[in-house]
Symmetry: C2
Subunit: 214 residues, 2 copies
DNA sequence: CGTATATTATGACCAATAGTCATATTATAC
DNA sequence: GTATAATATGACTATTGGTCATAATATACG
């Protein structure tokens, strides 16, 4: 009889409900200011029940981050599929990241908050993996410089892009004040530099006169 | 009479003692696991007194981070002074950062922990500033590409380098396991890419045959 | 149906601790 | 030597993450 399966489904569903409740409040009040009691209340459960599904507040945060990573991963795959050459795919992934960071700020913040935890294993959904694929394709189809190491470069791209975006995020106002530069310009500039770093066909010979377009 | 000044000195000294105590325990047990009582005890003061000098635990953390930033800033200035061309200066600053991250791991971690807080104003010691100077010099002396925007590039460099180092830091083991790459290699590879991005004299014409050296 | 068992839910409770405040101590001024 | 100001204290409060004995509910099964 399928009683066991039904129960499991119900359990999963409830677990998910709790994550949704947690997410709602984390996003509204911030992680620190959210109490387990808050979450229980929104999930219409008691505090103790929350701990039946999660070991700690931190784990609850992890579950929310996971949702964010899945969204991001989905966007990356879409970007990957929607572009032709390897270079285009790589650029599209970068653009998707920028969109994620803009359109899913709450998830992005949650993700950043997670960037402390040591990582034991590269997860199946790790964004670096799809970047590696894109770069490899680019090397094959000649759109990406032949001499780069796709794995190392993917690791770099992921790290440095996150760094640029994070830095931009937290210092945006300060940068605008101090240097009179619009924050979006920085991101654009970054994308240009990355393209220059990866593209096979850098004309670059003299002063770089005609390479502004991108 | 200089009583007031002496008192101020004493106050400053005591404040500093508290920061030193806090640092000691933060580094030993981690920020979360440190209690104000711990700090008070090491500083040989009572809890209440701590709050006479600092508003919150978070502020105490900020004071420790400040010390780290000063060390880093000192290393940057040394690197800057010790190199000739603008490009060399920039590279030396990068190398100094890598050394800081290796040799002052506790401060580095504290710094990362701080990377959440929004930044209101670019501080006098902000590492980006010296990077801007180095790049400007490089553009003048011809060692750095003429077409880069020193301010934007400095902002990028700071952000992306922090990102690469942070990513490397937390995923080192995972990366080694998954891709069999030594973490230091990643950093080296990164430095190469940065040099390529900044240097004026990229031969790069065809496939990049003879550019491995660096 | 009715009883035994297993699963899930509850909320009072505990321990830890950031931050407060009335009180006490000490230094300064005059 | 007394009034005043600065500094220090630690008992106390409020909050909250996490636990656990108890209760409610669902399932199994004769």
């Amino acid at each position: 009889m399928g009683t066991a399966e039904r129960r499991q489904r119900e359990k999963d569903w409830r677990r998910n409900e709790i994550v949704l409740a947690a997410e709602k409040i984390f996003f509204a009040k911030g992680f620190e200011n959210t109490t387990i009691e808050d979450i229980a209340s929104v999930a219409e459960l008691s505090k103790g029940t929350i701990y039946l599904y999660f070991d700690s507040k931190e784990q609850l945060h992890g579950a929310v981050v996971m949702r964010g990573v899945e969204i991001l991963s989905g966007m990356f795959h879409e970007a990957f599929e929607g572009a032709d050459t390897g270079l285009e795919k790589t650029k599209a992934i970068g653009a998707a990241y920028m969109r994620f960071f803009r359109e899913q700020e709450d998830y992005f913040d949650a993700l950043l908050r997670y960037e402390f935890h040591e990582v034991e294993k590269i997860g199946k959904h790790d964004p670096m993996l799809i970047l590696i694929d894109a770069l490899k394709i680019g090397i094959e189809d000649g759109s990406v410089r032949q001499d780069i190491d796709p794995v190392k470069m993917a690791i770099l791209l992921w790290g440095q892009t996150t760094g640029v975006v994070q830095n931009n995020h937290r210092k945006c106002k300060a940068i605008t004040d101090a240097f009179d530069i619009d924050c979006d310009e920085i991101i654009e500039y970054y994308m240009e530099q990355v393209k220059r770093m990866l593209a096979a066909d850098v004309p670059s010979g003299g002063g770089g006169a005609g390479s502004e377009d991108v």
